[in-house]
C-alpha cells in the first residue's frame, strides 16, 4: 500500500490490494468454515470501494464471527457479547467520517444482543451489519441458536428444540431497517456485490449471510446453496427485474390480490404476471412478504437486496442539530457564559 502523508480528503485514495487489508494475525477458524470465504470477499471488495484503511473500523461482539476484526488491517474492536451495534452506534454517530462495519452472528445479535440490533436499525445508524447466520452456537460448541429450526437436536436440546426461530430478515424489516439483504458464503461474487450495495447505503444496512459451520451444523444450507441446487433453490432478487429462478427462469414469484406472494410456473401464469422487484418501495410490506416466502433453507429462498430505501441517517441528524444549535446561539458554546447562565449574585470584598 502506497503511503499517504495525510488523511485529508483531497489526497487521492491509494490503490490497494487484498493484501493491504489483511492483518498479520493467523486466521484461526476451523478448516472448512464458511467464515473464510466471507473474510476473503470483504478483503477483496475493500480495494474496490475507494475507502481508506485508516478510516475503516470493524466492530464485533462475541462468537466465531467476532474474531473477524483481528484479521483485518484496519482499526477494529472485538467487544463483548451482543453489544457491537451499541458500541458502533456511539462510534459512527460521533465520527461520521468513518466507515463502520459490524460483524456479528445469530447468537450474538439475535439472542443476547437482539435489543441493540433492532434499535440500531430503527435509528438508521450509518453502519454496515454483516450477520453470519449458521443457525448454531459455534464458539460454545454446539447449542441451538435463535435461528435453529424447531426440533433441532443439539447438546443443549437432546430431545429437540421447542423454539420457533427468528426470521432475521423479517425481524430487520419489522425493526424499520432501510437496507435489508441476504447472501451466502458459497458465492463470492454475490457476497461482494451485496456488501458493495450495503456499504453504499447511507444508514444502517443489514446483510444476513448464510454461513456454513462445518463442525457443529454442517451443510445446513447445502440444500439451497450447493452448486447443484442453486438454480432451483435460490431466487435472485434484482431491482427492476421480474423475480424468476430455475435453470431457464421457468419459475417465478407472483403477488396475489390478498397481498401474499407465491411461487408459480411462469409458463402457467404468463410472464407479465411475474412480480417485478422494487427494492426502493417505501412500504416494507412486500419486502416482508418476500422475506417469508421461504420457511427455511430447504425451500426456494430469495437472496439479494430486499429493501433499499432512503431515510435520514442518525449521525448526520445529530450533527445537524448541533450545527443548528450553534447557529441559533450565534456560535460555539462559551463556558464562562454557561457557568453564569443561572441567577447569579456577587459578593463583594470586605
Amino acid at each position: 500500500m502506497a503511503d499517504t502523508a495525510t488523511t485529508n480528503g483531497a489526497v487521492p485514495v491509494p490503490l490497494t490490494t487484498r493484501k493491504d487489508w489483511t492483518s498479520d494475525q493467523e486466521v484461526r477458524w476451523c478448516p472448512g468454515c464458511g467464515d473464510y470465504s466471507i473474510l476473503a470477499a470483504v478483503q477483496m471488495l475493500l480495494p474496490d470501494l475507494g475507502v481508506r484503511r485508516e478510516n475503516t473500523v470493524f466492530v464485533s461482539g462475541i462468537g466465531c464471527a467476532a474474531r473477524f476484526p483481528y484479521y483485518m488491517s484496519t482499526y477494529g474492536m472485538h467487544s463483548i457479547h451482543g453489544r457491537a451495534p451499541a458500541i458502533a452506534t456511539g462510534l459512527a454517530s460521533s465520527r461520521p467520517d468513518l466507515d463502520v462495519w459490524v460483524i456479528t452472528g445469530d447468537g450474538d445479535s439475535l439472542s443476547i444482543g437482539g435489543n441493540h440490533l433492532i434499535h440500531a436499525l430503527r435509528r438508521n445508524i450509518n453502519i454496515t451489519i454483516l450477520l453470519f447466520n449458521n443457525q448454531i452456537y459455534g464458539l460454545t460448541k454446539g447449542q441451538y441458536s435463535p435461528t435453529s429450526e424447531v426440533a433441532k437436536v443439539t447438546k443443549s436440546t437432546p430431545f429437540g428444540s421447542l423454539e420457533q426461530p427468528f426470521n432475521p430478515l423479517s425481524l430487520a424489516l419489522g425493526a424499520e431497517a432501510t437496507f435489508v439483504a441476504r447472501t451466502h458464503d458459497m458465492d463470492r461474487k454475490h457476497m461482494m456485490e451485496t456488501f458493495r450495495r450495503a456499504h453504499e447505503h447511507r444508514g444502517a444496512s443489514f446483510v444476513e449471510i448464510y454461513q456454513n459451520c462445518n463442525v457443529f451444523n454442517d451443510a445446513a444450507f447445502e440444500g439451497i446453496t450447493g452448486k447443484d441446487h442453486r438454480a432451483e433453490m435460490l431466487i435472485p432478487l434484482e431491482h427492476g427485474q421480474p423475480i424468476r429462478f430455475g435453470a431457464d427462469g421457468e419459475h417465478g414469484v407472483v403477488l396475489r390480490s390478498d397481498g401474499t406472494v407465491h411461487i408459480v410456473d411462469v409458463a402457467e401464469v404468463g410472464e407479465d404476471q411475474i412480480l417485478v422487484h422494487d427494492a426502493h418501495r417505501d412500504n416494507p410490506g412486500l419486502a416482508f412478504q418476500l422475506s417469508r416466502l421461504s420457511r427455511g433453507p430447504f425451500e426456494p429462498t430469495p437472496i439479494g437486496v430486499f429493501r433499499d430505501v432512503e431515510r435520514p441517517e442518525y449521525g448526520t441528524q445529530m450533527s445537524d442539530q448541533m450545527a443548528a444549535a450553534e447557529a441559533r446561539r450565534g456560535g460555539k458554546g462559551d463556558l464562562a457564559a454557561l457557568l453564569r447562565s443561572g441567577s447569579t449574585w456577587t459578593v463583594g470584598a470586605g
Binding site: G76, M77, T89, G333, A336
Partner: protein
C-alpha cells in the same frame, strides 16, 4: 437561632432559619422551595437545600405517601447542611402536617392551609381528631391561613376557572413566607412572567396569589413581626445556586472544553440521574452529543464506542444501571480507554428507594466486576463540588486511559448550595495526548504501532482513535500481549497484564492531593473519616463538638480508589477512627482491610442524610463525653 430586636416594627433579625414547605405531590412544593431559595441566594444568604419527594409521580392525593417536601436552610454565615430540625413548617394539608410535625424544632412556627383541614382530608392523613384543635400542636406556634379560599377569591374576576385558580395556592404560600422573611418580591414576579408568559391566565393567577400571600402577611395582623436573615459573608466572587446534577453536567462540559474532546453522553433515563441528561441535551452548541439509548448497556456501549473514536465518552446512571453496565466497564478496563461512569446513588438493593439517597454502591464501584478489574473512583462531597469532581474524573480517565467512576447521590443530585463560579482559566487543562505515530519497531526494524506500549510514568497506553494512517490496530476484551496488544493466552503474560492494570490505577495516588485533616487544636484523639455527601453533616457535627471546647478531627475522601498516599499515616495517628456512612460500613471495611486500623462504622440507611445532632452525639459518646457534660453555647450552627 438568636433574635435581636431593635424597634417594634422593624423585622426581627435571625442568624439562620430552616423552613420546610410540605404538601401533596401535585401542590408544587419543590417549585415553591426552589423559588424561595433563589430569592434568598440573590439576597446573599448562605443556603443549603434538601428536596424530599416520593417515588410516585402522583401518589394518591392527601395521603402520607404523597407528601412532597422541600427544606431550605438560610443563614447569615456559612452553613453545611439543610438543617436538622425545621423552625418553620408550611403544611398545605393534614398529611403534610402529620408527615413532618415530628421533625420540627421545639417552638417551631407551623403555617397550615386551614381550608384543607376538612374531615375527609384529616381521615385520609390518618388523623382521628383535628390536630388544630386537639392540643397536639401545643409545642408550636400555629397559624391557620385560608390559603385556598383567598387564592381562589383574588382570581375571581381574572377569568380564571376556580379549579385552576386554586392551583396557585403554592404561590400564596410563597408570598406569605416571602413577607415573613422579608424576601424581595421582584425576582419571583420576574420569574413568573418568564415562566408563564405564554399562558397569561396562569401567569395572572400566580401573580395574584403570590401578592395576596405577601399582603396577607402584612395586613392580617396574625404575625407579630417579620424576620430578616442578613447576607452571609461568603468569599468574594460571583455566585450561583446550583444542584449537584447541574454541577455534574457543567463539570463534564467544562472538562470537554478544557480537554478539547467533544463530549458524548450515552445514557438511559433513571432516577435520580436523568437531570444530567436533560441538562447536557440543552448544550449541543458545546459540541455535546447526548444519546438516549435503548437500555443501560447500550448507553455505556455507545459511550465506549465514542471513546474509541476519540471523544469524551460518559454514561450516567444510578445503582440498577451500574449493575447492567458492569460488563462494559470490564471491557473498558481491558481496552484501557477513557470513560466516565457517573453513579448517582440511591437506596437499594434492586429498585429500592429511587428518590431517596444512599451511599451503598462504594463496594460495587470498587469490586463489582468479574476478574481483577480495578478502576479509579472519585466522589463528590457537596452539590457544588460535583463540578470539580466531574472534572477530576475526566482528568483521570483521559490521563490514565481508564474508566473512572464518579459517585454522587440523590441528596447531592437534587440538593443545592451557593457555588462560587470559578474563573474558566483556573480550571485544569486536560491533555488527550493522542498517539501521532509509530511507537515501536518490528523484528525487522520497521517502525510499527503497539497499542499496549505504556508511558513509563503513568503506565497509560497510547490512545489512537481511527483516522490516522499507520496507527491501525485491533483491540478487544481478550487478554492482550503486553506491548503489542495482540491476543495472548499466555499465563505469564496475563499475570503481568493484571499487575500492570492494577499498578496503573494504584499509581494515581502520586497524582492526587494528600488527604487534608481538619484537626483545629491538633490534639484530637477521635478522627471522623467520611466520603461523599456526608461531608456537610460531619463538618457540622465537628463544629458542634468543638463548640463544647472539645477536640475532634475530620478527614473527607474525594478519591476512593486509589486512596491518597498519606491516608495510612493519618489513620495511624488517631486512637479512634469513626466512619459515618449512609450504608452498612463500606468505607470502614476498606480502611480496615487496607490499613489494619480499627475503623468503626457509623451506619444509617434510612434514605435520608445524617443529622448533625446525631453525629455529634455519636462522636461525644466515643470521646467518653456526654452532651450534658459540656453543653455548647447554643451558637453553633450546621
Amino acid at each position: 437561632m438568636s433574635d435581636t430586636t431593635t424597634d417594634e416594627h422593624a423585622p426581627h433579625t435571625l442568624d439562620r432559619v430552616v423552613i420546610r414547605f410540605a404538601g401533596d405531590s401535585g401542590d408544587g412544593m419543590q417549585l415553591t422551595g426552589d423559588r424561595f431559595t433563589t430569592s434568598s441566594a440573590l439576597l446573599g444568604n448562605d443556603i443549603a437545600t434538601f428536596p424530599d419527594f416520593p417515588a410516585e409521580i402522583r401518589a394518591p392525593a392527601g395521603t402520607l405517601a404523597g407528601v412532597s417536601a422541600f427544606q431550605v436552610h438560610i443563614s447569615d454565615h456559612d452553613i453545611l447542611t439543610p438543617g436538622d430540625a425545621p423552625n418553620v413548617l408550611v403544611a398545605m394539608n393534614p398529611a403534610a402536617l402529620r408527615a413532618n410535625a415530628g421533625i420540627l424544632s421545639p417552638g417551631a412556627i407551623v403555617i397550615v392551609n386551614v381550608d384543607a383541614f376538612d374531615e375527609r382530608s384529616l381521615t385520609k392523613a390518618g388523623y382521628e381528631t383535628n390536630p388544630l384543635s386537639d392540643g397536639s400542636l401545643s409545642a408550636f406556634t400555629v397559624y391557620e391561613v385560608p390559603m385556598t379560599s383567598i387564592t381562589t377569591e383574588v382570581s375571581k374576576d381574572a377569568g380564571v376557572k376556580p379549579r385552576d385558580a386554586e392551583r396557585s395556592k403554592n404561590f400564596f404560600a410563597l408570598g406569605l413566607i416571602s413577607w415573613l422573611y422579608t424576601r424581595p418580591i421582584e425576582p419571583t414576579l420576574a420569574w413568573i412572567d418568564e415562566r408563564f408568559g405564554s399562558k397569561p391566565l396562569v401567569r395572572e393567577a400566580n401573580v395574584r396569589a403570590f401578592k395576596a400571600g405577601y399582603h396577607f402577611g402584612e395586613t392580617a395582623e396574625l404575625f407579630e413581626s417579620s424576620y430578616e436573615v442578613r447576607p452571609a459573608s461568603l468569599e468574594p466572587g460571583e455566585y450561583a445556586n446550583i444542584t449537584g446534577n447541574t454541577a455534574t453536567a457543567w463539570g463534564l462540559i467544562a472538562a470537554s472544553v478544557r480537554s478539547g474532546l467533544p463530549l458524548f453522553l450515552g445514557t438511559y433515563p433513571i432516577t435520580p440521574a436523568s437531570d444530567i441528561l436533560h441538562e447536557l441535551s440543552k448544550h449541543k452548541h458545546f459540541g455535546v452529543r447526548t444519546f438516549q439509548a435503548e437500555d443501560e448497556i447500550a448507553g455505556i456501549g455507545a459511550a465506549l464506542g465514542a471513546s474509541f473514536g476519540g471523544q469524551l465518552g460518559v454514561t450516567t446512571t444510578s445503582g440498577p444501571g451500574v449493575d447492567l453496565k458492569s460488563e462494559t466497564m470490564g471491557l473498558a478496563i481491558s481496552l484501557e480507554l477513557p470513560l466516565v461512569i457517573v453513579d448517582v446513588q440511591r437506596g437499594g438493593p434492586s429498585t429500592g428507594l429511587p428518590t431517596k439517597t444512599e451511599q451503598a454502591d462504594l463496594l460495587h464501584a470498587m469490586y463489582g466486576r468479574h476478574g481483577e478489574a480495578p478502576l479509579p473512583i472519585v466522589a463528590a462531597k457537596t452539590p457544588a463540588h460535583c463540578f470539580d469532581a466531574a472534572i477530576e474524573a475526566v482528568r483521570l480517565a483521559v490521563t490514565y486511559r481508564t474508566p473512572v467512576m464518579l459517585l454522587t447521590d440523590g441528596y447531592l443530585a437534587n440538593g443545592t448550595e451557593p457555588w462560587r463560579i470559578p474563573d474558566v482559566e483556573s480550571l485544569p487543562t486536560i491533555d488527550p495526548a493522542f498517539a501521532t505515530g509509530p511507537n515501536a519497531e518490528g523484528p525487522d526494524g520497521t517502525p510499527r504501532f503497539e497499542p499496549y506500549a505504556r508511558d513509563e510514568n503513568t503506565l497509560a497506553r497510547p490512545w489512537a482513535p481511527p483516522g490516522v494512517a499507520g496507527l491501525e490496530h485491533r483491540i478487544g476484551g481478550l487478554e492482550k500481549a503486553d506491548g503489542a496488544g495482540s491476543v495472548s493466552y499466555d499465563g505469564m503474560n496475563h499475570e503481568r497484564m493484571v499487575h500492570l492494570r492494577a499498578a496503573k490505577v494504584a499509581g494515581i495516588a502520586a497524582d492526587i492531593p494528600p488527604v487534608e485533616v481538619d484537626d483545629e487544636g491538633g490534639d484530637a484523639s477521635v478522627l471522623v473519616v467520611g466520603w461523599g455527601s456526608t461531608y456537610g453533616a460531619i463538618a457540622a457535627a465537628v463544629r458542634r463538638v468543638r463548640a463544647r471546647g472539645l477536640q475532634v478531627a475530620h478527614a473527607h475522601l474525594v478519591h476512593l480508589n486509589p486512596f491518597p498516599s498519606n491516608l495510612g499515616e493519618v489513620l495511624a495517628r488517631y486512637p479512634t477512627v469513626l466512619v459515618p456512612e449512609i450504608n452498612m460500613g463500606q468505607l470502614s471495611r476498606l480502611l480496615r482491610a487496607e490499613y489494619l486500623v480499627p475503623a468503626m462504622s457509623v451506619s444509617k440507611v434510612q434514605g435520608v442524610p445524617f443529622r448533625a445532632a446525631e453525629l455529634e452525639a455519636i462522636i461525644l459518646e466515643h470521646m467518653g463525653a456526654t452532651a450534658a457534660a459540656a453543653p455548647s453555647d447554643g451558637k453553633v450552627s450546621d
